[in-house]
């Protein structure tokens, strides 16, 4: 009885028992309630967004497809370059991203390039959508374009309008003119990774990067490691303790790469996300004038924590995008690969795997959007929950995609082995997922203590 094409084990949409046809015979008043339009999940999800964010999502997708897709695999397997060198293809990407407003969309017009309409909604939601759409195509290039915004956020959260005028606006204008001015965010030190991301650990630590008071400013001494984009950044928000004080004295300094004593020591050979370098940078008595202090001295720890609370939503968005990219690659593989004359998608075990991947991805997207929708205040517990759960589940989805493709998934051309390597970083940076679990508890401390007292 099947007339139209159908997958093995299914009825065609025009079969008498297919819901599609049956719903059409229901009363006119009921029909719209039970008959959805045939659309993709992406279209369905986009339709739930406020119009400004729906437009932004479409723009991010279009940019990713046009600019990132063709570069993704070649850049991933390109030779490792010396510190400060940038692959010509990525230099072109930065220029075009600058002109397209993709390096300045953290702030609304006229300060940046984000639409005022989008700014009616929480900034972290927009940033999460952006991270998702770019990561879906290439998380490495996403990081190259987005770690830059992470370097700007401390200036925003310091509420330092003078610093915004002096540092951010000229840099944004430069980027919009096609001469990218990249920022970076530097907290991690060689002797401490997670200590910079968690208060209890930080309280017992001796800071490694120290600012000493000198005439007219500060002299910075020390090293930072794993700084995304630190090799190409012209401006870096660097967190350093004041001399002879603990991490509670952390202060945010705007360091420019042309300051004498600033050095890019090396860039790491990484497992994935290779389009964006992780740099080790050193400060050899770098003189930083007083007007390069972001906010007030000793406000650095607060600025750092506020920055991480905001940026963890974006990392969750990366997870969603990576899961989506892996799911699409696996579906594509299942539709084009035949075994015994049938496309794999006809086999039930393959259908089950695809359904699981789609659902897991949809679930983490739902969690993230639900949390980000009202995140006018970036709550630590919510952002950390989203960060660790979305990225853990994303890696699981990518593993499912690899499993579906079997040994073909091991090949670079499959695209999914790259997604796996890229995705693994999201469980580590912006605080390991263990640290993020503890951050949830830290934020719930008062309620938990109250329950102890009640008992």
């Amino acid at each position: 009885m099947n007339q139209q094409p159908h997958l093995d084990g299914y009825l065609s949409p025009d079969h008498p028992l297919s819901p599609r046809g049956l719903f059409a015979d229901l009363p006119a008043a009921i029909r719209p309630m039970v008959t959805p339009k045939v659309t993709t999940v992406w279209e369905q999800d986009t339709a739930t967004l406020p119009s400004a964010l729906a437009r932004a999502r479409k723009r991010y997708r279009s940019f990713a497809e046009q600019e990132l897709r063709r570069r993704a695999l070649p850049i991933d397997s390109a030779p490792h370059l010396e510190p400060g060198e940038l692959h010509p293809s990525l230099a072109d990407l930065l220029k075009s991203a600058g002109r397209e407003g993709m390096l300045t969309d953290l702030l609304p017009r006229p300060l940046g390039s984000a639409s005022l309409g989008g700014y009616r909604h929480p900034l972290v939601w927009t940033q999460a959508l952006r991270a998702e759409e770019l990561s879906r195509v290439c998380a490495g290039q996403m990081l190259l374009l987005s770690a830059h915004s992470l370097g700007v956020i401390p200036i925003v959260f310091a509420g330092d309008l003078a610093a915004m005028r002096r540092f951010v606006l000229p840099a944004y204008r430069q980027s919009l003119a096609g001469d990218p001015h990249i920022f970076a965010f530097a907290i991690t030190e060689p002797s401490a990774g997670s200590d910079a991301e968690e208060g209890h650990g930080a309280s017992g630590r001796r800071p490694g990067t120290v600012a000493k008071r000198v005439n007219g400013g500060w002299s910075l001494q020390g090293r930072k490691v794993f700084i995304s984009g630190g090799d190409i950044a012209k401006s870096i928000t660097v967190f350093a303790a004041l001399e002879n004080e603990g991490i509670e004295s952390w202060t945010c300094f705007l360091v420019t790469s042309d300051m004498p004593g600033f050095e890019v020591v090396r860039t790491e050979l990484k497992m994935g996300m290779r389009a964006s370098a992780a740099a080790e940078i050193a400060f050899h008595d770098v003189f930083v004038p007083d007007d390069h202090v972001i906010g007030q001295p000793r406000q650095g720890w607060a600025i750092n924590r506020a920055t991480l609370n905001a940026s963890r939503y974006a990392v969750a968005g990366m997870g969603v995008g990576l899961a989506q990219g892996a799911t699409e690659a696996a579906i594509d593989f299942a539709c084009r690969t035949e075994l015994a004359g049938k496309a794999l998608v006809n086999f039930q075990e393959v259908q089950l795997q695809i359904a699981d991947m789609m659902t897991e991805t949809s679930a983490i997207r739902g969690m993230l959007w639900q949390a980000a929708r009202k995140a006018y205040v970036a709550r630590q517990d919510r952002s950390s929950m989203c960060k660790f759960h979305c990225t853990d589940r994303a890696v699981h989805v990518v593993e499912m995609a690899l499993e579906l493709m079997g040994n073909h998934g091991t090949l670079h051309d499959s695209g999914v082995e790259k997604i796996y390597r890229d995705a693994r970083l999201t469980q580590i940076f912006e605080g390991t997922n263990q640290i993020n679990r503890l951050a949830v508890i830290e934020d719930q401390q008062e309620q938990l203590l109250a329950r102890i007292e009640r008992n």
Binding site: S77, A278, T337, L339, E403, N407, L411, D413, Q427
Partner: protein, 379 residues
């Protein structure tokens, strides 16, 4: 079956392998971020052959997969691979790849199969594990419906452009391929040129090993066997051996990752104390510990007794269980390092990539489970 190898023999043999792995192999590895250059890999293989760990074509050759009628034989080979893999999984896999043609030529009683010194035995079909057709065939059950077409297409894909992928050091001259002729899986020796080999580019893991994509072709010299029952046994045995090798490499790989993570936890201080005292880190290392313990027991079970193809159901079930555990252990061990674990010079990311690649080769856990279900049903 008479036991020729005693437990003492096994211990002695493995301590020799350990000395070779730590003394000879380890010395040639510059760092995890530098895969061994091909000439170095070849030199190591020659040394492993001279040391008697990898068999050559001579009759008196010893080493991997040679004494498999001995109840301790499979254990000795699997633990040899595991020991080598604890130093470098790619080298361990390469030793296995080199030993397989020797085992097959002897098993088929066709020494001429080794006419080309460098051959490979690709056991990976085009995709998956031939669905339910493979367990039905190997169990000697009646083949149904599309089973024959499935087996044929799995081993010799007909889709235009479809290629089987072989994970072996490039440069091999011949392929000893299984093919399904409608009655049984038999073997054919094919010169590499007949298969239009294409480099398949870098792979997720096993950086020392290349991926080569082979076209389908019937050209070559038939190797038999004529007896369909014998053919069934031999193919099952080959799959059992491959499973032992994959799990053994995975365990060696995790052992290395676990030791690195333990050392990191011992030396790294955060929050004012060594991180081995943080419960979060204890959980991660505990996960690697338990994965090691469980997979070690699984490998022991898989390698028990002389090689028998009819144990393939148990062996596949154990492999389906082992690889997810190995990957979990490797990823948790990496997490102990935080950001530095993601960097190539530390070696943890390589261990994770290797573990993931081993999970995907020769049938994934899901495919193995479906095989086991059908095997159990039809036997």
């Amino acid at each position: 079956m008479e036991t020729l190898l005693s437990k003492e023999d096994l211990r002695t043999a493995l301590s020799e392998v350990r000395r070779f792995a730590r003394g000879v192999v380890s010395a040639r590895i510059e760092g995890p971020e530098h895969p061994l250059p091909r000439p170095t890999l070849e030199r190591l293989l020659s040394e492993a052959t001279e040391a008697g760990f990898v068999p050559d074509a001579t009759e008196e050759a010893t080493g991997l997969w040679v004494d498999l009628d001995d109840p301790m034989g499979p254990t000795l080979s699997a633990r040899t691979i595991e020991t080598l893999a604890a130093v470098n999984p790619g080298i361990a896999w390469t030793c296995h790849v080199r030993a397989m043609p020797v085992w097959l030529a002897r098993r088929l009683n066709k020494p001429e199969a080794l006419e080309e010194k460098e051959s490979v035995v690709p056991l990976q079909g085009y995709h998956g594990l031939g669905r339910v057709a493979l367990p039905r065939y190997l169990a000697g059950a009646q083949l149904e419906g599309d089973d024959r077409a499935m087996l044929r297409d799995w081993l010799s894909p007909a889709q235009p452009g479809a290629r089987r992928v072989v994970h072996a050091p490039a440069g091999f001259k011949a392929v000893l391929s299984p093919y399904f002729d409608g009655e049984a899986v038999r073997w054919i020796r094919q010169p590499i040129d007949a298969l239009d080999p294409l480099p398949a580019g870098p792979t997720l893991g096993l950086d020392e090993v290349d991926a080569v994509a082979l076209a389908s072709s019937d050209a070559g010299t038939p190797l038999g066997p004529d007896d369909p029952e014998e053919a069934r046994k031999i193919f099952a045995e080959a799959l059992v051996i491959q499973s032992l090798a994959l799990v053994a490499v995975g365990i060696g790989c995790l052992r290395h990752a676990h030791d690195l993570a333990r050392e990191q936890a011992r030396s790294r201080v955060q929050g004012g104390q060594r991180i081995e005292h943080h419960p979060a880190v204890q959980s991660l290392i505990g996960s690697a510990d338990t994965a090691l313990l469980a997979t070690d027991a699984l490998l022991g079970r898989m390698a028990e007794g002389p090689l028998r193809g009819n144990r393939i159901g148990d062996v596949f079930a154990a492999r389906a269980e082992a690889h997810p555990l190995l990957c979990r252990g490797a990823t948790d061990a990496l997490q102990v390092f935080g950001g530095s674990g993601y960097m190539q010079d530390v070696g943890m990311e390589k261990a994770l990539r290797d573990s993931q690649q081993l999970r995907l080769m020769g049938g994934t856990p899901g495919e193995l489970e479906r095989f086991v279900s059908e095997w159990d049903r039809v036997r």
